[in-house]
């Protein structure tokens, strides 16, 4: 922990001071909460009528569960496709052939620099223009394409840093027993790199799941869209947003915990010569290439 080096174990005076500041902080938080609740109450958002719909089956079967399904389906397809695209681009970027390496590098940098929303808007227009999917699938296809291209490039960078984090002896040994560079990649380097990527991939799931909410903007029927529909139907927009927000937070928090577990498990077992990788948790951002532990 970083915090513990910053201050001494408190003496009696410091203890009183900390306690005092703690009390002030609690009071401040309670005041803010009270202000918010008072405001909500004043606007009639706290009445039972606004919250009761969430106890009825109808809201869940007609709105929340279909919305959750929409969110999870888009996320699941995107994860699978992003893995495929990512491994292909990542291996391509590591290729010994310059004519493979360069285009893959340009694609990865491009997809990381362009906002996911821009890609969704573009592919939505593209699919509608050439009628590549049935009309009711344009939105899903565009959400999946945008998420796949962006997260595929993130996975490609993970593959690259995963392979780079392996000891040089791994590929030398593969060469020594007569494997070609392609076979050494496929049989020796990639399996270890993907094991090292595992925690980062689980962490990336959070990013993908959050970004499905961008589908709201291109009329995809996911959780956020359903929250708005509930709000319009029962005129309880604020409660609907709070409930849907809580669902997102719970799922994503659980995924974060799983990612941390996988990471600590792998650290203990040391299944890969490279050690676990971590992706930068900022969505739509460049990946921090971290192969080794940070000194914490």
């Amino acid at each position: 922990m970083s915090g513990t080096v910053l201050f001494d174990a408190p003496g009696p005076r410091a203890k009183r001071l900390y306690f005092g500041v703690g009390v002030v902080a609690v009071v401040a938080i309670l005041l803010v909460l009270w202000f918010v609740l008072d405001r909500l109450n004043e606007k009639g958002q706290l009445t039972a009528a606004k919250w009761k719909p969430f106890l009825t089956g109808e809201i869940w079967t007609q709105y929340i569960l279909p919305g959750l399904a929409g969110t999870l389906i888009a996320a699941a397809i995107s994860v699978v496709l992003a893995m495929v695209v990512g491994v292909l681009l990542g291996v391509g970027r590591l290729s010994s052939q310059a004519w493979v390496r360069w285009p893959c590098g340009v694609l990865v940098e491009f997809f990381r620099a362009v906002p996911v929303l821009l890609m969704m808007l573009f592919t939505y227009a593209l699919y509608a223009k050439y009628e590549l999917f049935p009309p009711e699938r344009y939105a899903l296809a565009a959400v999946v394409t945008g998420l796949t291209l962006y997260n595929g490039s993130v996975v490609a960078e993970l593959v690259r840093s995963g392979v780079h984090s392996l000891p040089k002896g791994q590929s030398e040994a593969a060469m020594a027993i007569g494997l070609t560079s392609g076979k050494s990649m496929r049989l020796v380097l990639l399996p270890q790199a993907i094991t090292a990527m595992l925690p980062a991939i689980v962490g990336q799931l959070v990013v993908i799941l959050k970004d499905t909410a961008l589908g709201y903007i291109i009329t995809y029927e996911e959780l956020l869209r359903k929250a708005e529909q509930i709000g319009n139907y029962k005129s309880n927009l604020v409660p609907a947003f709070i409930v849907i927000g809580a669902i997102f937070i719970i799922i994503n928090y659980l995924l974060t915990v799983v990612a941390q577990r996988v990471e600590s498990l792998m650290r203990r077992r040391g299944r890969s010569a490279g050690g676990p990788l971590t992706a930068d948790p900022v969505d739509q951002s460049t990946v921090a290439v971290v192969g080794q532990d940070t000194n914490n």
Partner: protein, 229 residues
């Protein structure tokens, strides 16, 4: 290639990108302020403050940005009547939406800024803080004079990543009617479905131009400014 001249004349694409840049810079500043406060709370010796900081980061980081921005408009403004601009002004709708978007973007990215700064605090060797305590500095002074200046230098690379993410995420502001780049691209694509590739190319290039130099700058800054150890 008349679509390119349309981009400049009819749609005022430069103005759209200017809005994107304003959104990004204002939100980055506010996010830096909020994020620093949250990071300090998280490393402080006071348990309650640590808990508040951790709760902020965990809650905000796991909420989709689109939900945050939409809530700023539909929730804070429409339902709860929070207006951030002068209601009598004839540009009220535009100003208010823009400011609500800045609020949403900075509250969201502050959680990533806080984590970046905390990772920067981790790069400061233990001995530094021990030395500061040894000469009698209390927690806040240790932080202000010894740890934070080094932490910011150590956090430059992740902060650069947050800034790049923020630039791209500013497109989400279009959902509450801020006419930044993605909103204008959408309109152009609807009006000119025959040239969507060119339109996408122009706007994608705009973001490449905005984000690539920032990445290069922050990488070189992080190498130049990092405290040599």
């Amino acid at each position: 290639m008349d679509v390119i001249s349309e981009f400049f004349s009819e749609y005022d694409g430069l103005q759209a990108f200017r809005t994107t840049i304003y959104l990004t810079l204002l939100s980055a500043l506010l996010a830096l302020v909020i994020g620093t406060v949250v990071a300090v709370m998280r490393v402080s010796p006071i348990r309650v403050l640590q808990l508040i900081g951790t709760a902020y980061v965990n809650i905000i980081r796991n909420t989709p940005l689109t939900l945050v921005i939409v809530f700023c408009n539909l929730g804070l403004f429409v339902q709860l009547g929070l207006a951030l601009a002068n209601k009598d002004s004839h540009t009220f709708i535009n100003d208010n939406n823009f400011r609500l978007a800045v609020l949403g973007l900075s509250v969201y990215h502050a959680s990533f800024v806080a984590e970046a700064i905390r990772s920067g605090v981790n790069t400061v060797p233990l001995g530094q803080a021990e030395a500061a305590r040894a000469i009698g500095l209390p927690f806040l002074k240790t932080l202000r004079y010894v740890v934070l200046p080094q932490a910011f230098r150590g956090a430059i690379a992740p902060l650069g990543n947050v800034l790049i993410a923020l630039t791209k995420n500013s497109t989400v502001a279009s959902v509450i009617g801020v006419t930044e780049a993605s909103a204008v691209m959408k309109v152009m694509m609807e009006n000119r479905p025959d040239v969507i590739f060119v339109v996408f190319g122009i706007f994608a290039l705009g973001f490449v131009i905005l984000t690539l130099p920032v990445g290069v700058l922050f990488t070189s800054l992080s190498k130049r400014l990092a405290v040599k150890r």
